[in-house]
Amino acid sequence: MAIKTVLGLFQDANQAADAGDAVKETGVSENDIDFLTDCPYPEGAFGEREEHIKLFLFPFIGGLLGFVGGIMVTSMTQMAYPLITGGKPILSLPPMAVVMYEGTMLGAILFTVLGVLFESRLPHKMTEAYDERVSQGLIGVLVSTEEGKEQEINDVLSKSGAVDTKIA
């Protein structure tokens, strides 16, 4: 059955945190509760769940790929048509190191950015309830629950002092 999402907007962070607890008491697991804010609050400010991210993996993979790419570009382009220049060896390492280095960094950064988008689940269709006042500083408590339970959640949220609630 379909998943419904309920959004409660709160003026004050402590209220929002309390609302989160109240919702938890109705049997909603903490994985279904999200706190929408307009700026990064310090972690655990709402007693919310730990977020586990594996972002650090991406730069290593990317860097490795970039490094290999660098080796291939530098060595192959020199081997393809071996021309002596200035008595330098055909495969001269010091210059190759420079380009390999750039390749490594480029790969690492590209993969990191991909990692950020992937880990934060972007781009993302906004089917959940959302309110523009979140970016005005209101704190949204977003609860996703199966159909039929949304009214109850809604009441809980408004009882714990929500300025406004939405269901989608």
């Binding site: 021309l83 002596i84 220049t85 200035g86 008595g87």
Partner: protein, 258 residues
């Protein structure tokens, strides 16, 4: 059928014989389709002289000496200009020549900056010739367009001709005599009235110049003979040997790094 030896072309300039007559300059101008050095080209300091005669005054009046130093591309073994070209427009070919690929050059002018001897030239303008000189252009040599670099080639077109006629057709050895006999010497060498310029094959025992290079390398650079190479201490390993004037004056730059 003769065994084809690996050529390594080189030149020897005997400064004792050079009178600074600029004949080589004119010959080069005519042979290699250089643009006409008009007055304002000179004023812009953009004149083309693939070979130039540097003139230095030495001593005070009355015993003043004029020094002449013909400088052309030295076709360095470790040419500084080669590794810095981003597009391989200049590289070292298997005959010891430092060659320039005109249609690959993009004109970064890095090679010119990095040339120790100032013998690379950049086409700032589209080269043009007056009507009456159109027919004088040498068909063996490309006419360069604007925005690319050019330089002395040791008259590579003549060397190629020599290889074709002498080595392939006549199946005889290619050395300085056979080349001289058929006027396959570089234009400057051919034109020099005092034979101050000698051209030949460094690897070929029979060639006149071979001995000078032997001598030079034998005494690893610091030979007490007349032979020396200009700005050798940069480590460019040039293929042009200059024979020192022997008198009480010393060339300015031979001590300049002391």
């Amino acid at each position: 059928m003769v065994v084809k030896i690996e050529h390594k072309w080189g030149m020897v300039v005997d400064l004792d014989k050079c009178t600074g007559c600029q004949g080589c300059v004119v010959a080069c101008q005519a042979e290699n389709n250089l643009p006409i050095n008009t007055k304002d080209l000179f004023m812009q300091k953009r004149a083309f002289e693939w070979i130039r005669i540097e003139r230095y005054w030495e001593g005070d009046f009355p015993n003043v000496k004029a020094r002449y130093l013909p400088v052309m591309c030295q076709h360095c073994g470790n040419a500084p200009c080669e590794p810095v070209c981003p597009v391989y427009a200049t590289y070292h070919n298997d005959q010891g020549l430092n060659v320039q690929v005109y249609n690959r050059c993009v004109g970064t002018r890095y090679c010119i900056n990095n040339c120790t001897y100032q013998v690379r030239f950049f086409n700032f303008w589209e080269p043009t010739w007056p009507e009456r000189l159109q027919n004088q252009l040498n068909p063996d040599v490309t006419v360069r367009t604007r925005g690319i670099t050019e330089k002395c080639t040791f008259c590579v077109q003549r060397i190629r001709r020599a290889e074709i006629t002498v080595e392939r057709r006549e199946r005889t050895k290619l050395n300085d005599k056979t080349m001289a006999a058929r006027n396959f010497m570089p234009a400057c060498v051919q034109a020099c009235p005092t034979n101050a310029l000698m051209f030949g094959d460094q690897n070929n025992k029979e060639d006149k110049i071979h001995g000078y290079f032997e001598e030079l390398h034998g005494h690893d650079g610091h030979s007490d003979s007349r032979g020396y190479r200009i700005l050798e201490e940069i480590g460019t390993d040039p293929s042009v040997i200059y024979l020192k004037k022997v008198d009480q004056f010393k060339m300015e730059h031979s001590e300049s790094h002391g």
